[in-house]
């Protein structure tokens, strides 16, 4: 799943944040079968995004308990355990997509909601010039 660049026309990039609530989410996959069906929907969606160059990067995140806040380079003094904002809702995963305009981004967001059952926040990127590709970040 490589990022695609459309050289022939202007594309805009959007962050689709999938929000999760603490505790059990209504309709969240519980059994192994449900989990399998959930994954199948997500994989099918990502394949669809991939075929027309929509998919840039994305994935599911570990929970807020795995989070660390850093406020400077002197890590001992300015690092704290836990998320930046203590909240009931947190970002459980995200996609970065290419889309021509907001209407197209919203239509993809709708498909993500259908597949994952999470509310999505759609936010346009202001600048994406230095966005690293997945291979850069994992190398």
């Amino acid at each position: 799943m490589c990022p695609r660049q459309h050289e022939e026309f202007v594309v805009n990039q959007y962050l689709l944040s999938l929000y999760e609530s603490e505790g059990r989410v209504e309709g969240a996959p519980m059994t192994a079968e449900e989990m399998q069906a959930f994954m199948a929907r997500v994989i099918a969606l990502e394949d669809e995004m991939d075929t027309n160059g929509t998919f840039v990067f994305g994935g599911a995140l570990h929970g807020p308990d795995a989070t660390t806040v850093v406020r400077g380079s002197d890590l001992d003094k300015v690092m704290t355990d836990g998320p930046f904002v203590e909240a009931k809702e947190h970002i459980g995963g995200f996609y970065i997509i290419n889309a021509e305009n907001l209407d197209e981004a919203l239509s993809w967001a709708g498909k993500v909601v259908d597949a994952t059952n999470h509310p999505i926040e759609v936010r346009p990127f202001r600048a994406t010039g230095r966005l690293p590709s997945p291979s850069d970040s994992t190398a």
Binding site: N12, E100, N101, L102, D103, A105, L106, V122, R123, P124, R126
Partner: protein, 422 residues
């Protein structure tokens, strides 16, 4: 409002719409139009209003914007883009008519994009399409001028940053998007109906309704909304000048505006002939029946009840149910209607019309003791609104085929609109 000012306001939507297409940037289009208007204020009173004021504004604004862009450090590329799309001011002057109509639709749909919050949609539509000043909009919505200015800046920022497309929605999205645009127009109308100080808004809403109806003559709900607004407007002269609005039952029907009623009835008849009813068309038809009645006693309540039954299928909201109950009280007596009103009380807590209606029904049943709280609660509006005029929240309803048995509306309305009782 003088002639120059009125011409401006009417040219504003078209000018901004055309400029937005040329520049592909609302934030460039609006100030350019403002500059052109400033030039017009200076020159029109001396030289007279040009034959094609909109074309004049567009050409002048375009020239101004090109100058601005030329001066800007990073303007070269944009200038070339503009030069490519609109090579001369003469071209901008020539491309009146159809192209401009599409431009204006694009602008309306951009301003009424559902990703913008509703109050931002309303403010943008009034500013960019209707051409009201920030001061006028701020006054109409009882907020300070800086607050309204900030609201407009935020809305325009989102359009630009999120790349809300400047286009007419595609076929699949059009029904939902059109409903959103019509809801904005009706909200503007009702904002004007709520308050005498803001009566101007009703005129603007009707003007927007006429523009939409001209641009989308094949959309029956657009006509329905225009008909609904015209028939509501027709009765405004009978509302009285005092702080208490005269209720329908007591209105002097000789004061109703006959020309508006005739136009509204024409629209309703056309809608019925089309046979694709929707919530606005049904509400317009209900108002058409009211306007066709020479006296309150002669109102065809059976007809109104039938229309509410049909409206309930498309728009089953408590407000519609309440208005249906009011009609039911006239056809079947207050006893049976009161039971339905009481059932709605939990869905409409504190709704003035419910209390006023309950009070009236109890009074008719002779329960004088129980009416006081209801009458007091409704007193500030005195049940002023006619059935149906408030039921504008359309939700996400879709047009459905006309059920059989409702066609009888046609001869009745036609008879009453054109008959000797008029």
């Amino acid at each position: 409002m003088d002639e120059v000012e009125r011409t401006f306001r009417h040219a504003h939507g078209q000018a901004v719409a055309t400029l937005a297409r040329i520049f592909n940037d609302l934030s460039l289009a609006e100030p350019a139009a403002r500059d052109a208007f400033a030039t017009a204020v200076d020159r029109w009173p001396r030289e007279g209003i040009p034959v094609n004021p909109t074309g004049w504004i567009v050409a002048t604004a375009r020239n101004r914007a090109v100058d601005t862009v030329r001066r800007a450090a990073r303007g070269r590329e944009l200038y070339e883009q503009i030069a490519a799309t609109a090579p001369s001011a003469a071209a901008a002057l020539r491309d009146g008519g159809a192209i401009m109509g599409d431009d204006q639709l694009r602008l309306i749909f951009t301003c009424c994009h559902p990703a913008l919050r509703i109050e931002h949609q309303v403010a943008l539509t009034l500013r960019l399409v209707a051409g009201l000043t920030v001061t006028e909009i701020a006054r109409a919505f009882l907020v300070s001028e800086p607050t309204m200015a900030k609201r407009l800046v935020r809305a325009k920022y989102k359009i630009k940053a999120a790349h809300i497309p400047y286009r007419i929605p595609n076929e699949a999205d059009l029904p939902d998007r059109l409903r959103a645009a019509l809801a904005v127009v009706y909200l503007v109308y009702n904002a004007g109906a709520d308050n005498r100080e803001r009566a101007d808004l009703r005129g603007e809403a009707i003007r927007l309704g006429r523009v939409l109806d001209q641009l989308m003559p094949e959309e029956p709900e657009v006509a329905g909304l225009l008909g609904l607004m015209l028939l509501s407007e027709a009765r405004v002269p009978a509302h009285g000048g005092a702080s208490d609005v005269v209720i329908l039952r007591d209105q002097d029907r000789a004061l109703w505006d006959r020309a508006l009623i005739i136009e509204g009835h024409d629209i309703v008849r056309t809608c019925i002939r089309r046979g694709r009813p929707g919530p606005f068309q049904l509400q317009a038809a209900i108002q058409a029946v009211h306007c066709a009645a020479p006296t309150f006693a002669e109102t065809d309540w059976q007809q109104i009840l039938a229309l509410y039954d049909q409206l309930m299928v498309m728009m089953p909201t408590p407000v519609v149910a309440l208005n249906r109950a009011i009609a039911l009280a006239e056809t079947s007596g207050p006893q049976i209607a009161l039971a339905q009103v009481d059932e709605l009380a939990t869905d409409l807590p504190g709704y003035h019309l419910l209390h006023a209606t309950r009070g009236t029904m109890l009074r008719r049943l002779g329960h004088d003791d129980s009416i006081r709280p209801g009458r007091r609660a409704g007193a500030h509006r005195a049940g002023a609104e006619l059935p149906g005029t408030r039921a504008w929240s359309l939700g996400s309803l879709r047009l459905t085929p006309q059920p059989p048995g409702t066609v009888r509306v046609v001869p009745d309305v036609r008879h009453q609109a054109a008959g000797p009782r008029q």
